[in-house]
């Protein structure tokens, strides 16, 4: 046996194994460290703060859980949200995230480590990313071997596609959900491979945890049945599949029904019917196999076959019938819009309006996954080459995941794990092939496939095949069939070095890319903004907190704040004031009411505000410093959502110029100029420029010299960079006049009386 480079000799097998496992453990620890560290940019660049919008609610709920205990949290009714309706929080959330932090908090306090609950919440996502790396390692190990597992763990540890949802401070359900997703899949694969009821049960338990943690659990609910169904169609029904699936489904479904927010959905909604249907199908097939093994009569077997098919058809007809009758709820809009992509924009603008529900353009894929993007198809190809049961799973996941990620930006998150796994399989096979020191013999006879200390593809797949003789369409790769020619391999050292050098070059580029993307794109808390001073130093824009703390310290605790729903959770979390609508968009009409108030004239909006006891109205305005995520840019969605409920009063085309442009300058349409949102945004804006030309820096339009006036609201507070503007709603006039004429009177303007003046003038 000739080798391309000298190998150390005289090492016992035990030494090699021990060293290898030590290196594996150290590597995994380092990967976890890297995964956590790269998520800390946000804390270092800014501070330990909760990010964005939804995390503020989760944080608030966790505080309730930590301070008042689980039972109080479970029964928590929040009267300050959705004023005046209130919100039953315990029954309308996925409590997994808060429960996790609560448990960690209690453990640490039991150990006399008085860690602040906020720091636990901020650092939960990085911590769980380390666990995700480990789960991915375990999953990939089942697919190929340990080396691929380590690569996959490293990939998912630093891939921006996952970091985008798990930086420190991004305290959201996804933070723990990806770990649960990967671990449930790992248990499922393990259960399937071993026919183990224990792993099936473990998959069920982690499925329950996932259900308790994230609405995306429906992905698992449909992936596992799809995998099982395709295995059946491929003729790969085994008792292992039966045991694994049945134990997962029975335990997982019963457990998931304990979450109040889910309740009886697993037997009543279409999202869960696939799992139920496949469960039934498996029982029928298993029964048929059992009967068949006990009978010999050919006719009876035929009859049985017909009976099985018939039962299957009847079962699916029953499901269809029940759906028509309304016993089973049809697909909910959020899931339905994944299939019929135009559906959401037409019927549920509130879903279509969310920026993370937009379709994904290719630069986002490349930004989030870079190198992995083209290793991904290569890995899927290699899966097809082997095509064991677990490879079928990865293939299905890859196809389904890439479709979903294409439809919605936020589902990039569910694609990322499979991309990492599949890319790791491809890259580790490449490295295996080219690091393997064994050179093939040049001309003559074949040598027995001798393997050294490292496991090559050949020996790995060969040994697994020996363990698992089942499977009619087992792979017959070129390597495993003995051929008269030499065992395939690579000649020479330079060839090895070229490929390995290229691979390591790509990998280090990937590391630089990930670090850059993470620090630049995904580490902004969005509550605090950063910009650069002329000398390059960082300038922090802290308008949001400034304004929220103003509300907290200067207004009565009961005063109701109205804003667009995006800011509801932040106002509740930071200003601690009741809000009309928030990011839990369960009541479309209530949101449309706010939209109507914002997009109507002051006279129309005022009764709405008064009826809802609104004391303050908060708008986000970016025109001064060029903050593009402001309310004027979101305004059309408010109009659209309001139009959905009041098509007679609010019409979107009225907010455009006759040329169909969306303008805010002096050419803006009258409806636009008179809308409450426009008036509040640009109130006294022109004065700021002291007679010069006022410019809106977001829309790059010159504003008119004479800004809008307000009669029914008073400016109460405007933050340093004008990002947040708060207006106080005036009370009714004490003399019973409408506020407009009262205002005109106090400014010394006389009421217009056209006829008398004309007469007087005629006399003069």
């Amino acid at each position: 046996m000739s080798t391309a480079y000298p190998l150390p000799s005289g090492l016992s097998q035990a030494t090699v194994t021990n060293t290898a496992s030590l290196i594996r453990i150290v590597t995994l620890a380092l990967i976890s460290g890297a995964a956590i560290a790269s998520r800390l940019f946000a804390v270092i660049n800014f501070e330990s703060i909760i990010h964005e919008f939804d995390p503020w609610f989760n944080f608030r709920a966790t505080k309730v859980l930590a301070s008042q205990g689980f039972y109080e949290f479970w029964n928590w009714f929040d009267p300050t949200a959705w004023y005046p309706l209130g919100r039953v929080v315990g029954g309308t959330i996925y409590p997994g995230l808060m429960a996790t932090s609560g448990v960690i908090y209690n453990i640490l306090h039991a150990l006399n480590l008085p860690v602040d609950i906020r720091n636990i919440c901020v650092l939960l996502a990085p911590g769980f990313s380390a666990l995700t790396a480990w789960a991915t390692y375990m999953f990939t190990k089942e697919l190929k071997d340990e080396s691929a597992g380590l690569l996959a763990a490293a990939f998912i540890g630093i891939a921006p596609g996952y970091i985008s949802r798990s930086v420190a401070g991004s305290y959201d359900n996804e933070a723990i959900a990806i770990f649960l997703l990967m671990f449930t899949f790992y248990c499922w694969i393990k259960a399937l491979k071993q026919g183990s009821a224990f792993f099936g049960m473990l998959a069920g338990v982690f499925y329950f945890y996932m259900v308790a943690a994230w609405g995306g659990y429906a992905f698992i609910t449909n992936m596992i049945p799809l995998h099982a169904l395709i295995l059946i169609l491929m003729g790969r029904f085994t008792s292992r599949l039966y045991v694994g699936y049945s134990s997962w489904y029975a335990i997982g479904t019963l457990a998931s029904m304990q979450v109040p927010f889910v309740g009886f959905q697993p037997v009543k909604t279409s999202e869960h019917m696939a799992a139920l249907g496949v469960f039934g199908l498996l029982q029928i097939i298993a029964f048929a196999q059992l009967v068949r093994s006990h009978l010999s009569s050919k006719q009876f077997q035929n009859l049985l076959f017909v009976a099985v098919i018939g039962t299957g058809i009847l079962g699916s007809l029953a499901i269809v019938g029940l759906t028509y009758k309304g016993w089973i709820a049809p697909w909910t809009g959020r899931f339905y819009s994944l299939w019929d992509t135009g559906y959401a924009k037409k019927y549920i603008p509130i879903i279509a309006s969310v920026s993370e529900h937009q379709p994904t353009a290719w630069p986002s894929f490349f930004m989030d996954l870079q190198l992995l993007m083209f290793l991904f198809p290569a890995g899927v190809f290699l899966c097809f080459k082997q095509l064991r049961d677990e490879h079928v799973f990865v293939i299905i996941y890859a196809v389904v995941g890439s479709y979903f990620a294409g439809v919605m930006v936020r589902l990039m998150l569910t694609l990322t794990p499979v991309v990492c796994v599949s890319a790791a399989v491809a890259l580790s096979t490449l490295l295996d092939t080219y690091i393997d020191p064994v050179e093939p013999l040049v001309p003559e006879e074949a040598t027995p496939s001798a393997s050294g200390d490292d496991s090559t593809t050949t020996s790995a797949s060969g040994s697994k095949k020996a363990k698992k003789p089942a499977g009619p369409t087992e792979s017959t790769t070129a390597q495993s069939t003995p051929k008269p020619r030499s065992r395939p391999g690579i000649f020479g050292l330079d060839t090895r070095l070229v490929v390995i050098f290229n691979a390591f070059g790509m990998l280090s580029f990937f590391v630089f890319h990930c670090t850059w993307v993470t620090s630049n794109a995904y580490s902004s808390p969005s509550v605090v903004l950063a910009s650069a001073n002329p000398d390059g130093s960082q300038h922090i824009i802290d308008d949001f907190r400034e304004a929220y703390y103003w509300l907290r310290q200067n207004t009565p605790e009961t005063s109701v704040v109205m804003s667009w729903w995006d800011y509801g959770y932040q106002i509740a979390g930071m200003a601690d004031r009741p809000t009309l609508v928030d990011n839990n968009t369960w009541n479309n009409t209530h949101i449309a009411t706010v939209g109507k108030a914002m997009s109507s004239t002051e006279e129309v909006a005022y009764p709405i505000l008064r009826k809802h006891d609104v004391d303050y109205v908060l708008v986000i305005f970016g025109g001064l410093i060029g903050y593009s995520g402001d309310d004027i840019n979101k305004f059309l969605w408010m109009v659209r959502i309001a139009q959905g409920v009041w098509p007679d009063e609010i019409q979107e085309p009225n907010y455009f110029t006759p040329h169909g442009e969306y303008r805010v300058d002096d050419q803006a349409s009258t409806t636009m100029k008179n809308s409450l949102m426009y008036k509040m945004s640009y109130y006294r804006f022109a004065e700021l420029f002291g007679g010069g030309q006022a410019m809106d820096r977001v829309r790059n339009q010159a504003m008119p010299k004479q800004g809008p006036t307000l009669d029914y609201l008073d400016e109460a507070f405007t933050s340093e960079n004008w990002i947040v503007r708060i207006f106080q709603v005036k009370k009714e006039d004490l003399l019973g006049r409408d506020l407009k004429s009262a205002n005109a009177f106090s400014q010394g303007k006389k009421r217009k009386r056209s006829k008398p003046t004309a007469r007087r003038r005629a006399i003069v």
Partner: protein
């Protein structure tokens, strides 16, 4: 005071609107339920004394006007108007469908300040029992954000008609026949093509092509309706959040080539028995990998101007 002044006039205007109504009914009946307006009939139809409502399409069908959307929208409009003309007479005569072509009355377009076509205005009844509760008499504009199809149009206009428009999408004979024939052909040839269907490589090709197309932003172009290329002939759209149809093809091809170099290096090259030929292959495919990857990064730098890294160029 004011009302007493008007009272003597009331029978007169009743009579006038009766006449106008009859004229409009005749006009509608004459042309399949869709009135072809000119300046005078437009004023008649939208007279401030109307106790009927009307939907009016403003269009420019003449070839010289080069209004492609007008011609695209017109069939849907005719269909919906036709569906309305089938309703019972007592409902039909309370709502009219009409078309005003730019070349028939440019003055009307100027009067309404219309500068683009097609536009659909719905005029509510200004008097009588069908007057809107809010008292609005000005027209409302139909929003084309749902496209030019007849279905959404009929659904929206039904809010303004006395009874819903009985519009049904025409049965798609061609589509169903094609599906049936295709299904039949599939069943007939099943035994011949089943080896292909059972081959894993058929499925591999299908899956990988699907994946490549999806991750190259195909769904983005579908949902957003991006054009294949830009108006100025450029194939690559400016901006990180945007892309043209051709980019899907180019990017999918680049990913495909890169994946292929990896797969060849893994699967094909080790089987090569001649050392020299193998060396050639390894160098060639590694170089191809590096080169195409550099091209990909360069294209990405066009999309994301702030990207600091580059490979070969």
């Amino acid at each position: 005071m004011r009302f007493t002044h008007l009272l003597p006039l009331l029978p007169l205007c009743w009579a006038a609107s009766k006449d106008a109504l009859n004229t409009l009914v005749d006009l509608a009946a004459a042309s399949n339920g869709l009135i072809n307006l000119d300046g005078n009939t437009f004023d008649l139809l939208t007279s401030p004394k109307r106790n009927w409502s009307a939907s009016i399409q403003f269009t420019a069908m003449d070839q010289r006007r080069r209004c492609a959307p007008c011609r695209e929208f017109d069939p849907s409009w005719v269909e919906v108007a036709k569906a309305w003309s089938k309703t019972p007479k007592e409902h039909r005569d309370q709502h009219f469908f009409a078309t005003l072509d730019f070349d028939n009355s440019q003055a009307t377009f100027q009067k309404l300040g219309l500068q683009s076509a097609p536009v659909v205005f719905v005029y509510p009844a200004a008097e009588g029992p069908r007057q809107l509760p809010s008292g609005r008499t000005t027209p409302s504009k139909y929003d084309f954000s749902h496209g030019f199809e007849a279905g959404p149009l009929a659904e929206h206009l039904s809010n303004h008609t006395p009874i819903p428009i009985p519009y049904k999408a025409p049965f798609d004979y061609a589509g169903w026949t094609l599906t049936a024939v295709g299904g039949l052909a599939f069943l007939l040839t099943l035994r011949f093509i089943s080896p292909i269907l059972q081959s894993r490589w058929t499925w591999a090709a299908g899956s990988i092509v699907t994946m490549l197309v999806m991750v190259s932003g195909f769904m983005f172009t579908r949902i957003r309706g991006s054009p294949f290329t830009g108006g100025d002939g450029s194939w690559i759209a400016a901006g990180y959040q945007n892309q043209y149809g051709q980019e899907v093809q180019v990017i999918a091809m680049i990913y495909g080539i890169l994946a292929a170099t990896i797969v060849i290096l893994i699967v094909q090259t080790p089987k090569q028995a001649s050392p020299n030929r193998q060396r050639m292959q390894i160098y060639a495919f590694t170089a191809a990998n590096l080169l195409v990857y550099s091209i990909l990064v360069t294209i990405f730098r066009v999309k994301n101007r702030g990207y600091p890294f580059k490979l070969l160029f």
